[in-house]
């Protein structure tokens, strides 16, 4: 199997989907001639031309509207919103047009659009280029939210997102772009979590960059004979609760690690749902998330803000004592 970095896996998925279906178009700010500010779209403009891959004004309202309108008029648009923090500007069309249409048309007209966006902290980008906007969108019926953690998933899940017939928000954590991994041609399905490390003492459910932090914490805990099972949720809306509940029935403990403010976050949704389904199996359940503050810039402040491997391992040791 070839080894790719996460960035190249994204680019390959876009390339393959543009090649496979002429209805797929790709647009956003600086994505064509310049190849994307995170270099995820390099060469696609040269390969597919300005009809299919084009630069746009810095106009997220118009871009989100263009994605909706073109999706219901025969195309399969892929829009890049440079930073997830800018999704507030795209929110009206996405929430009030794209995610309503399948319902309002009595499930007759789908809205096959994908919005890719770069998210997450740890890059010293400060309060408004580092956020994790998942929880802004968790309560929006009609929307899928995908967040891969590995190059293999980045490629497979982006391809599945573009092939999905209704709106998908696809989040790329900026601190994963350089990660290397084996990438095969196996397709993936949205809405399926993966057990990425087996264990019997505690379940850690998480996503994106935090999957790597959880695996590092699990390795440290193993030295203390605490066997943590790590679940990569991969899709945050809809959540694959079956996989989490199956794990909890074995481990009886659940820690949900969310990069995002603890209040109103998706970790609370996981805990609530697992509690409803499997209360009798739970000895302990809690969230490891970020504080309810904006994201600081200074490295020591930002590092302390994030739920890294040391904090995950320490909290699990304390709760299992």
């Amino acid at each position: 199997m070839p080894t790719l970095d996460f960035r190249s896996a994204i680019r390959e998925a876009l390339d393959e989907e543009l090649a496979a279906d002429e209805r797929v178009i790709l647009f956003g700010e600086d994505i064509a001639v310049a190849g994307g500010v995170f270099a995820t779209t390099t060469g696609l403009y040269e390969k597919y031309g300005a009809e299919r891959v084009f630069d746009t004004p810095i106009s997220e309202l118009a871009l989100a509207g263009a994605a909706f309108g073109s999706a219901v008029t025969g195309l399969r648009p892929v829009l890049e919103v440079m930073f997830g923090d800018f999704l507030g500007l795209a929110m009206d069309s996405l929430v009030n047009q794209s995610t309503k249409y399948w319902f309002l048309t009595e499930e007759q007209v789908s809205v096959p659009l994908t919005i890719r966006s770069v998210v997450g902290a740890g890059g010293r980008f400060g309060a408004i280029h580092s956020q994790m906007p998942v929880s802004w969108f968790m309560g929006v019926p009609g929307l899928k939210i995908v967040g891969p953690s590995t190059p293999a998933d980045a490629k497979a899940l982006l391809k599945a997102s573009i092939r999905d017939d209704n709106p998908v928000l696809f989040f790329e954590h900026k601190r994963l772009y350089g990660n290397q991994g084996e990438v095969d041609a196996t397709p993936a399905r949205l809405g399926e979590a993966a057990v990425v490390r087996e264990g019997t003492d505690v379940t850690i459910a998480t996503a994106m960059k935090s999957v790597h932090d959880a695996l590092e914490a699990a390795e440290a805990l193993a030295a203390d004979r605490v066997l943590a099972e790590v679940i990569d949720l991969r899709t945050l809306r809809p959540l694959d609760l079956e996989t989490v509940v199956a794990s909890v029935r074995k481990t009886n403990r659940l820690a949900v690690v969310e990069e995002g403010p603890v209040t109103g976050g998706w970790a609370g949704e996981v805990l609530a749902s697992v509690t409803e389904d499997a209360l009798g199996y739970l000895d302990d359940a809690w969230r490891i998330a970020t504080p309810n503050t904006p994201i600081p810039y200074s490295p020591p402040l930002e590092d302390a803000f994030l739920p890294g491997p040391a904090r995950i391992a320490a909290e699990i040791r304390r709760r299992l004592r």
């Binding site: 118009a62 648009p77 009206d92 319902f103 048309t105 009595e106 019926p141």
Partner: protein
């Protein structure tokens, strides 16, 4: 803008039979809105409604220029936009009545009607949302069928970011987009002049988009301007803009009696009722008044039958709502 003369002359209408069809459509829209209002007062129409009465010339004039491959995005004042495109009035009424037989099965209601089979992408409940939807449709049509996308919106939408962003986006990409601003003088309860800087048309002109301000009470003035605008957009020259000066003969929504209007303003506009103007013009072109009376009676009968059928139609079952999977 030169206002169309209210003294009818012959030879103004390029195709009398076509205008008879438009006249019938305008009567249908006015009668439909009167019916919706009366059903609302009886508690048969729920929530809120925004009626199109007074603005009929705009939707019917523009729609008379559109082809099968074109697409339209309407506003929440969209019953007239839908009927002008040929949406089945019975299904539209049934949607207002929240019945299973509604055009969207009772899921949409007055503000959210859609019917792609009739070229109507949707009616959009956010001010300016129609501009966004039509911009995207224009992006797709430019790459596929060569159709034109039309957005209707009010003077209120001129102050939304959607207008500036989408017009610029459409102009730099030369999208086949027709923007129709129905300036009915009020954004909700507020006169547009008191919340809008400068001239509406100038905002399009600054982006070098061809723009006209027209008499929106004259359907032939609308049709002539729309022909120029559609030709521009269809010819690959980018978007075109029309500001149609018009007036709503009712309040903003069902709960608004329109008390903020200066005395005499409504009456002055009603003297230029687009239906009355077209009737006078048709008669000046030699159409027999009795034929026009018959048309009016036929539409009234049709609406009465629709009312009865609509009120007899079933409501959707509760199960249908639970079955939805996102």
């Amino acid at each position: 803008m030169s206002r169309v003369s209210d003294e009818p002359a012959t030879g103004v209408l390029d195709d009398v039979e076509l205008y008879l069809g438009i006249y019938r459509r305008m009567l249908l829209i006015r009668g439909f809105e009167d019916l919706v209002q009366s059903l609302f007062l009886k508690g048969e129409v729920y929530g809120t409604t925004h009626l199109y009465s007074g603005q009929e010339a705009v939707a019917t004039g523009v729609a008379s220029l559109l082809e099968e491959r074109d697409r339209v995005a309407a506003t929440y004042r969209g019953h007239g936009h839908a009927l002008a495109l040929g949406v089945d009035p019975q299904k539209l009424l049934d949607e207002m009545l929240a019945r299973e037989t509604g055009i969207n099965g009772g899921r949409a209601g007055s503000m959210n009607v859609n019917s792609l089979a009739d070229r109507l992408i949707g009616s959009f409940g956010i001010v300016g949302g129609s501009i966004a939807a039509a911009t995207g449709a224009a992006l797709a049509l430019q790459r596929t069928t060569g159709g034109v996308a039309v957005a209707y919106f009010g003077d209120g939408a001129m102050n939304q970011g959607y207008f500036f962003e989408c017009l610029n986006f459409a102009q730099v990409l030369k999208l086949p987009l027709l923007l129709v601003c129905e300036n009915n003088q009020y954004g909700e309860y507020t006169p547009f002049r008191s919340v809008t800087a400068g001239e509406i048309r100038a905002r399009a002109e600054v982006m070098e988009v061809p723009a006209e301000t027209i008499d929106g009470m004259s359907v032939w003035a609308v049709r002539e301007a729309a022909a120029r605008a559609v030709a521009h957009a269809r010819g690959g020259n980018g978007p075109a803009f029309i500001e149609a000066l018009t007036y709503r003969f009712v309040g903003h929504s069902r709960s608004d009696p329109g008390a903020y209007r200066p005395e005499g303003e409504l009456e002055r506009w009603k003297q230029r009722d687009p239906i009355v103007l077209l009737r006078a013009q048709l008669e000046a072109e030699g159409v027999d008044g009795a034929r026009l009376d018959e048309l009016e009676q036929a539409v009234a009968r049709e609406l009465e039958e629709m009312r009865e059928r609509g009120l007899a139609a079933p409501f959707p079952s509760e199960l249908a709502a639970r079955e939805f999977k996102d």
